[in-house]
């Protein structure tokens, strides 16, 4: 048995390329002098684009690598593209912001690359140990990024809180993996499934292990009742970090969650339905109700992101049904795209209004935006409508497909809860709109080229892609066709 072959490396070339590129950039940033430091962000973009190209070139390939530790297929390629797109937007929103607040340092972009390679590995992981390693590779750079504004107590505090709770969640995940290993004598997803199906697995260890793994994932994607860290970390971290981690951690978390549970644990589906239903209901209700009371825009978006995690998890409840799970996966990926676009756009707007020492982040700072900056207010209106799930926006399309998957699974009650909490969410999203358009105020906007472009691009994308939602969804589904 060969340990590593060239084929293995070629199979996951985009990820390996990204890691090597990040290491080289790290050296260049440290020893390359002033020029090297200036080039780091641009070379980061170049690296992301190359990895994007490598992923596209591998489209349609289905292969397992490293003796079945990693599985490259339509799903992992889709996650790669999502992760790399997140990276490009992440650089776009960070570049000028970091300069404006004197945080411009090469590490930022390099840590981002490492974190993204973690996301990509989570999409391809076919072994629970790889899932654990990938989740740590995703998280550890994020802890540092959250605390990157040194001597800003809020940023340091966010980093520490994120670290302690993230590591805590990692402990749960790992213990769960150990128990599943004890139950099935393997950590390969396919072998776990085989053992569980043949009934040779110890049922108590298996169920306990799966429950602990679920807790670990729930922490990462910020699902209730494991969401407590989200508002504090989102508020304290520098805004571009918040924007990046809101999307990247969700993409990675859901990628691993979908693959692990659909491939390895479908036999436990009926046992998990009550647990999952409880998590979904709690996440939707807590996220949306707590958001109503928020006056700080970063905390508001934090709670809103919790509720979006709940929405995606809703489609995950019927994951064990063969007829439904492909739609679940496609709908979840589609929703992540919609959430990512809308999210980056709205965070870009937040960054334009933010001023030093955390000012400019209250809802009241948005008063008068509609009159003074009509284009910006219009973009924000689009994002709020998309978050709330109002047509014609991509957010509506995302919610539509998720609800359809839930209904296919036969969980009418959950779908009703989803719609009702969406109505609640419309209240606080539309309050932002009302403050922008109907209240007098003097908003201070610090626009800059990349942030303007990001806002415009995401706003147009959010509306334009709505009109091709069905072909887009079919395309996503067919990309995953032979997967599960």
């Amino acid at each position: 048995m060969q340990i590593v072959s060239v084929t293995d490396i070629l199979t996951i070339l985009p990820t390996i390329f990204l890691v090597v590129w990040a290491c080289l950039l790290l050296l260049m940033d440290a020893f390359g002098g002033a020029l090297g430091k200036r080039l780091t962000p641009w070379l980061t973009v170049l690296g992301l684009l190359v990895a994007f190209g490598l992923t596209l070139r591998a489209a349609g390939v289905e292969q397992s690598a490293f003796n079945g530790l990693l599985e490259v297929d339509g799903f992992s390629n889709a996650i790669n593209l999502l992760a790399l797109g997140t990276g490009l937007f992440g650089v776009a929103v960070a570049y000028e912001y970091l300069k404006r607040f004197n945080l411009a340092r090469g590490e930022y972009y390099i840590l981002m690359l490492f974190s993204l390679s973690g996301v990509m590995l989570m999409g391809a992981a076919a072994d629970l140990i790889v899932v654990f390693l990938a989740i740590e590779l995703l998280s550890i750079p994020l802890y540092i990024m959250a605390a990157i504004a040194q001597r800003d107590t809020r940023s340091e505090e966010a980093g520490l809180k994120y670290f302690l709770l993230g590591a805590f969640a990692g402990g749960f995940l790992l213990y769960g993996v150990a128990l599943v290993y004890g139950a099935t004598a393997s950590t390969r997803l396919a072998e776990i499934f085989a053992a569980a199906q043949a009934g040779v697995a110890n049922p108590i260890f298996l169920l306990l292990g799966v429950a602990l793994i679920l807790i670990g994932f729930a922490f990462k994607v910020a699902a209730a009742p494991f969401h407590m860290w989200t508002p504090d970390v989102y508020e304290g971290a520098p805004t571009p970090v918040t924007a990046f981690m809101a999307v990247a951690a969700k993409v990675g978390g859901f990628a691993a969650l979908l693959r692990v549970f659909i491939v390895a644990f479908p036999t436990l589906g009926p046992d998990l339905v009550p647990v999952l239903t409880g998590i979904v209901a709690a996440t939707l209700i807590i996220g949306n109700v707590a958001a109503i009371a928020q006056r700080n825009i970063k905390r508001l978006f934090a709670y809103s992101s919790i509720s979006h995690a709940g929405f995606i998890l809703m489609a995950f409840v019927p994951y064990a049904q063969d007829a439904v799970h492909r739609d679940t996966v496609a709908a979840a990926l589609f929703y992540l795209v919609a959430f990512g676009l809308t999210s980056f756009g709205s965070w870009a707007v937040v960054m334009m209004l933010e001023r030093a020492e955390g000012r400019g982040l209250e809802l009241s700072d948005y008063a008068g935006l509609g009159r003074k900056y009509p284009a910006l207010a219009l973009a924000m209106l689009v994002f709020m409508l998309s978050f709330a799930g109002v047509p014609p926006t991509l957010g509506f399309a995302g919610k539509f497909f998720l609800l359809r998957a839930v209904l296919q699974g036969g969980y009418v009650g959950l779908a009703v809860l989803g719609v009702l909490t969406s109505l609640v969410s419309a209240y606080y999203y539309l309050r932002v709109v009302i403050v922008m358009y109907f209240q007098e105020g003097k908003p201070q906007v610090e626009g800059s080229r990349l942030l303007n472009w990001t806002t415009a691009l995401t706003a147009i994308g959010t509306v334009a892609l709505f009109f091709v939602m069905q072909p887009l969804f079919d395309w996503t589904a067919s990309a995953l066709l032979r997967l599960f």
Binding site: I129, I144, R154, G171, L174, Y181, A185, R299
Partner: protein, 100 residues
């Protein structure tokens, strides 16, 4: 040979101690040590199961976990030091400037 149940019991006790420690202690370093205890209880479980299955993979996982734990120590202690510098305290009750 000690039966595997004993190891499972011991590791469950260690894991519970870790979880309780994280939830009840207020000192960031002690919380962090409790998290390490959780990771190590999982390591014990891996090794014990690997011994029963007479397989090596469980033992190798422990090395991966130790590497990850070392990386977490590096990052975690740096964060704790940074917080200590600006607050002169690592009691997480004092670290509360974020409230909504």
């Amino acid at each position: 040979m000690v039966p595997v149940e004993y190891y499972v019991g011991l590791s469950a006790i260690l894991f519970t101690l870790g979880v309780v420690g994280v939830l009840t202690r207020r000192n960031a370093i002690i919380i962090f040590m409790s998290i390490e205890l959780m990771l190590n209880s999982a390591n014990l479980l891996f090794v014990a199961f690997a011994r029963t299955f007479e397989a090596l993979n469980g033992q190798i996982f422990v090395f991966f976990v130790m590497t990850v734990a070392a990386a977490e120590v590096a990052v975690g202690l740096a964060l704790i030091v940074a917080v200590f510098r600006s607050k002169s305290s690592i009691n997480i009750d004092d670290v509360n400037s974020l409230r909504g």
